[in-house]
Amino acid sequence: MASEGTHQSNTKKIWTVFAILSIITLVEVVLGIIKPESLHQVYIYGLSLLNYIFIILTIAKAYYIMWSFMHLEHEKKSFQWSVAGVLGFLCVYLITLVLIEGNYIYDVFQSSQYKWIF
């Protein structure tokens, strides 16, 4: 609990995390503006390597915000899982299914004679 008064200041750690978040954002913006050919051209499962990098950096940012700023690191393991585990599983599940479906409909629009159904 917070009221003990035994907490010492975490100010230094807070600023470190802020620096990390800023650097990640800066990298994202620079990559987004330059769009290096070597990354933009490589495709893995229909998504360019650059987009994978963006997504990984975003998840890294989310990790720092949740674990450090929202103090999830100080909670019990079971509580961490009850939040991050549930969220991670349901989001990945939804994203996978819905994007596969979206891709399928794109294919139908491109090459099928059943366009009118959609």
Partner: protein, 334 residues
């Protein structure tokens, strides 16, 4: 807590109150589970956006071409700088929030108040930035025409990847005798129904296109350069452009929930819906922070002996930041 019915001692311990499962206080745990459910709502929105984008993969607008404004830099192509700035503002207000929580742990009332104030300020600046972003999006920059089939046509000068979009005002030939343009609801009492008049009519845009041989039409179709991997929109040849303008039915300026000049109709809807829902969260977050701020000033939490309320408000505020991180990536970056 004093239960009136005598029960076994173990039962008293479990159900008598003051128990904290998972070592998290009731308020914090419920805030976390609220955040969990709200995150899933946002996940649903973003996935819906992803679905529509996959569905219309090769006609979706390119974000860099839409969000390229920066304050005081008119006509300068500045993709993403502004949203990046907004991201920094929100991350920074998250930092001041966590500093307020930290000061609360040490029971330093003055420091908590200062940091809360800075957090509120950061939130207001972010909200103002978002309003500016919306203003640009709604007003539009160039204007476009919509075809019978519902697709959007832009007007450009130049070839392929070098093609620069031009505004309708740059080439349209204004017809002095055009009625529906000069008479608007405000100017004529007879003007009661019908679509809101655009600045230019289809006929004026068409006349302008025919009169300027260097103006071409750009469609929504995305083409990827096999050399660089860079994506750009298909530009029609001059002959095709002259042919294609005959399909145009409506002049589109800016964005509404029905159509927008940037491209696919649902693009505007998703923009308004996702950033609007996030902005609403920022707005309520600011209200909550203001209430907490005044309670800090009044010494409510000092008397209570715990600044846990600041922590709970902080959780919500960080959540708002967290959502923005994802909106930033999936709406502006990817």
């Amino acid at each position: 807590m004093g239960a009136t019915v005598t029960t076994a001692a173990t039962k008293e311990n479990t159900w008598g109150g003051g128990n904290e499962p998972l070592k998290v206080s009731y308020g914090k745990m419920m805030m976390w589970y609220f955040i969990l459910s709200d995150s899933l709502t946002f996940c649903g929105f973003l996935v819906g956006y992803g679905f529509t984008r996959y569905k219309f993969m090769d006609t979706w607008p390119i974000a860099d071409e839409v969000f390229n404004h920066f304050p005081f830099l008119h006509g300068v192509d500045a993709p993403m700088y502004y949203v990046a700035l907004m991201t920094f503002i929100l991350i920074f207000s998250s930092v001041t929030m966590v500093l307020a929580v930290d000061a609360g742990h040490q029971m330093k009332k003055g420091k908590v108040a200062t940091y809360m104030f800075l957090t509120i300020l950061g939130g207001l600046v972010f909200l103002g930035s978002q309003a500016w972003e919306w203003k640009n999006f709604i007003n539009g920059t160039y204007g476009a025409v919509e075809t019978r089939g519902g697709s959007i046509l832009h007007f450009v000068k130049g070839e392929g990847t070098e093609a620069k979009q031009i505004a309708l005002a740059d080439f349209a030939i204004v017809d002095e005798n055009r009625d529906e343009a000069t008479l608007t609801r405000g100017k004529g009492t007879w003007f009661l129904k019908g679509p809101e008049a655009a600045t230019y009519s289809i006929a004026e845009v068409k006349a302008g296109l025919l009169a300027n041989p260097d103006v071409k039409i750009r469609t929504q179709k995305t083409i990827q350069d096999p050399e660089t991997g860079r994506r750009y929109k298909e530009v029609l040849t001059r002959e095709q452009s002259v042919e294609r303008i005959n399909d145009a039915t409506i002049v589109v300026e800016g964005a509404s929930l029905i159509r927008n000049e940037y491209g696919h109709k649902t693009f505007g809807d998703f923009f308004f819906f996702i950033t609007g829902f996030h902005g609403f969260h920022v707005f309520t977050g600011i209200l909550i922070n203001i209430v907490i701020f005044f309670n800090v000033l009044l010494g409510t939490y000092q008397k209570r002996g715990s600044y846990e309320m600041v922590e709970k408000g902080g959780l919500y505020w960080h959540f708002v930041d967290l959502v923005w991180v994802f909106v930033f990536t999936f709406f502006y970056l990817v």
